[in-house]
């Protein structure tokens, strides 16, 4: 890693230092656990989005897939509404649903040649719409002990969900660094025409990347459902912008070709620590979002490697 890409890490450490000076509780083990709990879902979502953003595309379907996944999960595992109890099969089904939506995103993007921005905006609406229609607006309580255990049961002091997120991170790192697909995602971001001339099937890589992202969002949906103990159609609200902000704050460039899953980890931590810290520091609620905006500008301004970016869009 080059020195410049350490800048976000320095920003993160600085942020932690400031918060812990104001409220020393920040550094307690309990708070570390809570930050990890808050970070696990954005992390999984951010990992998925990182693949898409490295390709130079954008994925707005985060909330749609997550919501659909959470709702489908809540209806298939042991729950308070119907007699289903499919356990792990339900989890597999949810992952397939995520993959399916991602696959459709990719297909529309490369076959109908609709820019990813609009494709995924469309599937966002569609995903939430289907989730809504499935539940008819109600919330379904999840009673499956395995799913609930993700949020409640702990291993080495951290909830299982955090370990699941770390497993996702590991898988993403392997995909990114040790598979052809992962490298071809970079190739598409670096120059799609050149990649095609090198014999890479651009369409296949795009579709695969969107599919993988969909699976990660579905994992996010499972974790969200586990955390809240229910599935409802609002469970995804507000998660999209957090996700993309985290990816960009980590230093992945929206124009593609640059960035990595590891950088997204740092970005997610910056965003999560910032919002956690704001409560700990006692920032008044009505100005929190404004302060957060300013802090993110500062974080990005400090951590962006301007030499790598000739054109900022």
């Amino acid at each position: 890693m080059r020195i410049a890409s350490w800048a976000p890490v320095i920003v993160l450490l600085l942020l932690c230092a400031i918060i812990s000076v104001i409220n020393p509780n920040f550094l307690s083990f309990g708070n570390m656990v809570r930050i990890s709990q808050s970070a696990m879902i954005p992390l999984v979502l951010g990992i998925g989005a990182t693949f898409i953003i490295i390709m130079g595309s954008i994925d707005l379907s985060v909330e749609g897939v997550l919501t659909l996944a959470a709702v489908v999960l809540s209806m298939l595992v042991l729950n308070g509404e119907n007699a289903n109890d499919y356990g792990l099969f339900a989890v597999a089904a949810v992952l397939i649903v995520g993959a399916g939506v991602g696959f459709i995103n990719g297909l529309i993007n490369v076959r109908l040649k609709v820019p990813s921005f609009m494709t995924t905006l469309g599937t966002w609406f569609i995903g939430v719409g289907i989730a809504n229609a499935l539940l008819g607006g109600m919330a379904t309580r999840i009673n499956d002990p395995w799913i609930r255990g993700l949020a409640i049961e702990r291993f080495w002091g951290f909830p299982w969900g955090v370990w699941v997120a770390l497993l996702c991170l590991l898988i993403a790192l392997i995909i990114q660094n040790y598979t052809r697909l992962g490298r071809h995602v970079y190739a598409l971001g670096g120059g799609e025409e050149l990649a095609a001339l090198s014999g890479i099937s651009v369409a296949r890589v795009r579709i695969a990347a969107f599919t993988i992202a969909g699976v990660f969002y579905a994992v996010g949906g499972i974790l969200a459902a586990a955390q809240l103990g229910l599935g409802n159609a609002q469970i995804g609200n507000g998660r999209l912008f957090t996700t993309i902000t985290a990816v960009v704050v980590g230093g992945t460039s929206l124009s593609g070709g640059q960035g990595s899953v590891l950088q997204t980890v740092v970005g997610v931590l910056i965003v999560v620590v910032l919002s956690n810290g704001m409560v700990l520091m006692g920032v008044p609620p009505s100005v929190q979002i404004g302060v957060q905006g300013l802090m993110i500008i500062a974080a990005v301004a400090l951590s962006i490697n301007r030499k790598l970016m000739k054109i900022i869009k």
Partner: protein, 321 residues
């Protein structure tokens, strides 16, 4: 022989140019055939006036999208602007509208500076600016919506009244259309924007003051968003920090559905007008056709994707990202 083929290409180009409008007309016809009330002049006028705010927001962000950027602060800007109007109209009268739009232009200037000088991607810079504006609106309004009395509402007849049976808000929308069209198609700024969006290095090397054009685009975007907020304040006779909630994505979708490339360089205000109307027709059309409420989001999403598949001019977009 080559002339012949280029003539053909010209015709195809011209055809492509009309695709967004054709899409709109088809949609209106479909709804109209199934529910003839939809085609009554009063309904269509209603549709047009209900599209005005969306159109004005979309117009502003068109300038930024043309450059290849994005403005995510516009709904917070519009809400903040409604709060400014509501708070000051009693003392300042008509000046309050200017104050609101002026604040918008200032906010746009600041986003532009953050984007251009600090080199922060516009996605993040404007998202953050949106947060700041939302906080400002919450603090200024003391976190509640402010209703305007009759005396204050009398300043707003230019929004709420009508002339010769045409609601004023449509006239305001038309003025915005003309001003924005002139800016975009007949001024140096408009030309430079297109050049920057289509090929920033070449524009820069040709002596275009890229930074200045960008900042100006963000000022226009936020300025139009503030104007939309002023109009909303008139239509709803109040100001509230959440008055323009959930209008951001429809506005951007309107721009793209009209066929403007989200990557910049290609587009026009006319396309944005058509795009805004498409969004309105689809939405209101679903109500007219009694589309099942649970299916509405699904239909809306599908129509958006299909509309873009039809309207977007791929000949001018090198790679679809």
């Amino acid at each position: 022989m080559p002339m012949n083929s280029s003539l053909k290409r010209l015709n195809i180009d011209r055809l492509r140019h009309w695709l967004p409008l054709a899409t709109l007309i088809i949609l209106v016809t479909v709804v109209g055939v199934m529910e003839p009330v939809f085609l009554q002049p009063s309904t269509l006028l209603q549709l047009a006036s209900d599209t005005a705010v969306l159109f004005i927001l979309a117009t502003g962000v068109t300038f930024v999208i043309m450059l290849g950027g994005i403005d995510l602060s516009l709904q917070s800007m519009a809400s903040f602007s409604s709060v400014i109007v509501a708070l000051t109209i009693a003392q300042l009268g008509y000046v309050s509208f200017g104050l609101a739009v002026g604040t918008g232009i200032l906010a746009g200037f600041l986003s532009g500076i953050a984007h251009v000088k600090l080199k922060i991607p516009s996605f993040i810079a404007t998202l953050a600016m949106g947060g700041v504006l939302f906080s400002a609106a919450l603090v200024a309004s003391k976190e509640r919506s402010i209703t305007l009395g009759d005396a204050e509402r009398s300043y707003q007849t230019w929004v709420t009244g009508s002339h010769f049976g045409i609601p004023n808000v449509i006239i305001v929308g038309l003025i915005v259309l003309i001003v924005a069209h002139v800016l975009q198609a007949h001024t140096r700024f408009g030309r430079y924007s297109a050049a920057i969006g289509a090929g920033e290095p070449a524009a820069y090397a040709s002596g275009v003051k890229v930074d200045r054009q960008k900042i100006f685009a963000y000022m226009l975007s936020a300025g139009f968003a503030a104007l939309a907020g002023v109009i909303l304040a008139g239509r709803l006779s109040s100001g509230s920090p959440t008055l323009a909630a959930e209008m951001l994505l429809p506005s951007i979708a309107a721009v793209v559905v009209g066929g403007t490339a989200i990557t910049g360089g290609v587009g026009s205000i006319w396309r944005t007008l058509v795009g805004s109307l498409i969004i309105s027709v689809v939405r209101i059309g679903m109500t007219f056709l009694s589309v099942n409420i649970f299916a509405q989001n699904i239909v809306f999403g599908s129509v958006l994707v299909l509309a873009v598949a039809v309207t977007i001019d791929r000949s001018k977009i090198p790679i679809v990202k």
